[in-house]
């Protein structure tokens, strides 16, 4: 009940309160002085229910398992230096793509974004972006040219297609991914993409309300 009231209070204030909420979340990772400044004016960020927390934990466990698999593969490949040539980059990318793809043969949609975590992500976006903010979110996401991007698990995101700028305020609210993986909007859908080889690890439909 208390949590409900807190949430309502925060959202009833609209954009101003949401901005402070974001600042408060930033303060968790920012310098102490910054945190102190924000703490005096904001309600605490909404906590997850036990069910939601369980779904997020399980999702992150699956993500970690994927990362362990791909790291094991990448560690056996020649390392890319910071002075790599385009040929070396391409060779590394292709080798990593082929080997990870082979290791994940038979991977299917929904194995990472299981229904419970997909529901959590959809509801997070719905709750956090309302009214004008939701309109702006849709505009910024749908502005990117991702037409023709085929969402298929274990296939690559086409390199000649635009990448949607992920709204930072949303990234702060979604489960934090390891650096090897990215959330990426493709139209209204959301993909989980490996940043090194551009493989689509999984995707969920209708993430964007």
């Amino acid at each position: 009940m208390t949590k409900k009231i807190n949430k309502r209070t925060v959202f009833a204030f609209g954009r101003g309160a949401r901005r402070w909420l974001v600042i408060a979340m930033l303060s968790l990772v920012a310098a102490p002085a910054f945190a102190q400044q924000a703490e005096t004016v904001v309600a605490p960020p909404p906590t997850l229910s036990t069910k939601e927390q369980r779904a997020v934990d399980a999702f992150l466990e699956r993500v970690r398992a994927y990362v362990a698999l791909r790291e094991g593969i990448e560690n056996k490949l020649p390392k890319l230096s910071t002075q790599s040539t385009p040929e070396q980059i391409e060779a590394h990318e292709t080798a990593l793509e082929v080997k990870v793809r082979t290791a994940r043969l038979g991977a299917r949609r929904g194995e990472m974004f299981t229904p419970d975590v997909a529901r959590h992500i959809r509801s997070t976006i719905k709750k956090e972006y309302r009214g004008r903010e939701r309109v702006e979110l849709r505009e910024s996401v749908l502005e990117a040219d991702t037409k023709g991007v085929a969402l298929r698990v274990n296939y690559t995101y086409p390199e000649d297609k635009e990448l949607v700028e992920m709204p930072p305020t949303l990234l702060l609210k979604l489960p934090q991914l390891p650096k090897q993986l990215r959330y990426r909007f493709v139209g209204r859908n959301m993909a989980l993409v490996d940043r090194e080889n551009e493989l689509i690890i999984d995707y969920m439909l209708d993430a964007l309300p």
């Binding site: 930033l26 979110l137 000649d160 700028e165 305020t169 990234l171």
Partner: protein
Amino acid sequence: MKRLMLTSLVAVLVFGFGGSVDYARGQNITAASSIAPASDAATVNLSLPVKEGSVRFLVVGDTGTGTVQQQELADVMTRHRAAFPFEFVLLLGDNLYGSEKPQDFKTKFEDVYKSLLEDDVKFYATLGNHDQSNQRFYGLFNMGGNEYYRLQKGSVAFYCLNSNYMDKRQVKWLNDELAKDTSEWKIAFFHHPPYSSGGKHGSSSDLREIVEPIFLKYGVNAVFAGHEHFYERIKPQNGIYYFISGAGGKLRPGDVKKGSPLTEKAFDGDMSFMLLEVAGDELHFQVISRAGATVDAGVLANQRKKSLSAAN
């Protein structure tokens, strides 16, 4: 100031701009047709002081097309280097449009900037929405294998950010690095503009909501972004100088919204780049079009120094 006005002859004649730390002028959008071209190096009109020990660099974004127009602009950069020996270039993202095969690195970057690369000019890139993450390993982009990084040049600390994916990890890094940074100048560069008068994209307000409080807290002086295919100097926002220089390979003519309250000066009539010089407490800038004309120029004071002396 007087010297600047004299040397910025083209800018003064066409726009009445004399270079000032005080942005009291109204909006000024210009088109290419009104500008007299400079034909060769001898006619380069330089409004930058070229002081000994200063930090000199070039800023350009949205370059990676491999078109004749990109090459023409690169030729103008080379001509200006004879008069203004800049040491490095900040690339503001969309370094390679379309495919990113080895051949693309050559035709959309190496061939185009061949003369600058041969002169040992270093390019420091940021990632745009058309760039793959693995560009960070490409030696000639000097990203050190990182999507975001810090670069020190003399008294200036440069912060390259990845605005495609500003997650908690990057926000924490930015906070941590800025918190311990005692540089006299702090400059951030990334792809998506926090403020923009562009009709196609406009301001990246979501990004701004996250980064601007950090910039303010730690005294970032100036921000350079691309994404919009034009040049725009934004009226200082909360004391920070914001620039857009995203017409290095593509142009979106007429895209700057007329009457935008954000615009201090804008140019969407041709492709362009910026020349910059940090000398002591001053940041000098000059914007050059593909025709070789100056479309904007000025000098900005270090805001932190200004407030310190005001406090004393």
